[in-house]
């Protein structure tokens, strides 16, 4: 028996009769809407007082923003001191390999991740990469995802930067882990506008909940935390991507080849 059949059987056993439920819920919703309208009519005279309360709230928020701005400046000043946090990592120079014309993509170094994923991993640690999976094309280029695995005992911020080695163009990051200044925009990634960044940031103090621990998909290891990063390669990219990953006390470089639905040609 297939997994699908097993799952459908398992939940169908649990499902009570839904006879009349749709009518009950929709009826309740309509009745509630009528009550809401009645409540609105009753509360109409209170609108003056409500407006005053809203004005007071706006003033409180404005004061909060001013105070918060001062705190932010103090934090930024602290963060920009040499050796502290993200600013220090961003200040580190890039030391990615350079391709000579005709040279193959220098994929590697290979990592021993004890069977992680399909067994293919890259990097010497404490951060490891899997091959990039491309799945979404736009007029700007191609988007995909990258699993990065970090050792569980790794602490502090981890800065991720990457380049396509053939075109020399920076890989962009979008979504949850994208960081740093906005470097570009794409108005139509799967129908949504996205802001692009040249950095991704992993906060190892707050690992992703749903891939923690990655005990099964990533090779039965309880030593690794898995981060799924969304990235984009600009039109014409080769997919030969070099990562430089900087964290407290380490800087590592590895090269991976993008796989998936193919790259958008020039």
């Amino acid at each position: 028996m297939s997994l699908r059949t097993d799952i459908q059987m398992a939940f169908d056993e649990l499902t009570p009769s839904t006879h009349g439920m749709a009518e009950r819920i929709v009826g309740s919703m309509l009745a509630n809407r009528s009550r809401s309208r009645a409540m609105f009519a009753w509360s109409n005279p209170l609108r003056g007082a409500t407006s005053m309360l809203a004005l007071i709230l706006v003033l409180v928020v404005a004061v909060g923003v001013l105070a918060g701005g001062r705190l932010y400046r103090d934090w930024s000043a602290f963060n920009s001191q040499p050796g502290n946090g993200l600013a220090a990592l961003e200040a580190r120079p890039m030391h990615l390999p350079v391709l000579v014309p005709g040279q193959d993509c220098p994929i590697g170094p290979k990592a021993d991740l004890q069977g992680a994923g399909n067994g293919e991993g890259f990097g010497e640690g404490p951060v490891f990469g899997m091959p990039i999976g491309l799945d979404t094309k736009s007029t700007w280029g191609t988007y995909g995802y990258q699993w990065l695995l970090t050792r569980r005992d790794l602490a502090g911020p981890v800065l991720v930067r990457a380049k396509d080695l053939v075109t020399g163009k920076a890989v962009v990051f979008v979504g949850t882990y994208a960081a740093g200044p906005v470097t570009g925009k794409d108005s139509d990634r799967n129908g949504f506008a996205v802001k692009q960044h040249h950095e991704a940031l992993l906060d190892t103090n707050h690992p992703p909940e749903d891939t923690n621990p990655p005990e099964v998909y990533f090779g039965g290891s309880d030593r690794l935390v898995a981060w799924q990063i969304t990235l984009g390669l600009q039109r014409g990219a080769s997919g030969c991507v070099a990562y430089q990953i900087d964290g407290p006390g380490f800087s590592e470089v590895f090269v991976v080849q993008a796989v998936g639905t193919g790259l958008t040609p020039n």
């Binding site: 839904t18 439920m21 749709a22 929709v26 309740s28 995802y145 891939t211 799924q228 969304t230």
Partner: protein, 178 residues
């Protein structure tokens, strides 16, 4: 039982008026309830989640201009309600005791296996559980699952593979996807 994949929207790209919204919503209540039940394992909490999702859908009616997207959009709202419901302490207290003592519909083995499977699914993270329920239980195609989950098709597929490996580590992905 009707699978969600069988529920077709009436037509696409037309504004939805309030008067027709209830009619559009009715066929989505059952799949919404089945999704919520599979996510929460508690019939009352599931019905509450669908009820709340219906109110949310009603309030946001003005933003819905494409009936073709109503189904994944509504199921996405239900999924969010389920995520919130799981965060509430009382739901945890009430529903962690999944009703494993179910009436035996066939053999005892089958009932036990089903209970084990439900328990394993309930131990998945919210996002993994969501793609498993949508893909396997509600028979939705991967691209529509991705829309409900708010991620790309590739990321959804990767999440699905990972969840399958957790549920059936000894079964090949291709075999499990059938």
């Amino acid at each position: 039982m009707q699978r969600v994949a069988d529920v077709k929207p009436s037509s696409a790209s037309q504004p939805v008026s309030e008067s027709t919204f209830a009619d559009l919503l009715k066929p989505l209540i059952e799949p919404g309830f089945r999704l919520a039940l599979a996510m929460l394992h508690d019939a009352q909490a599931a019905e509450d989640a669908v009820q709340e999702a219906s109110f949310t859908a009603w309030r946001k009616l003005g933003r819905m201009h494409d009936q073709g997207r109503l189904r994944p959009w509504f199921l996405g709202v239900v999924a969010n309600k389920c995520r919130n419901a799981r965060r509430k302490k009382w739901v945890v207290e009430v529903s962690v005791g999944v009703p494993e003592e179910l009436p035996a519909v066939s053999s005892e083995d089958r009932t036990l296996r089903s209970a084990d499977l439900r328990r394993a699914i309930s131990h998945l993270g919210h996002d993994d559980r969501l793609v498993v329920v949508l893909y396997f239980y509600l028979d939705m195609p991967v691209d529509e699952v991705a829309t409900v989950a708010g991620t790309s098709v590739g990321a959804t597929r990767a999440r699905l593979y990972r969840a399958i490996k957790k549920l059936r580590p000894d079964v090949a992905i291709e075999e499990a996807l059938r």
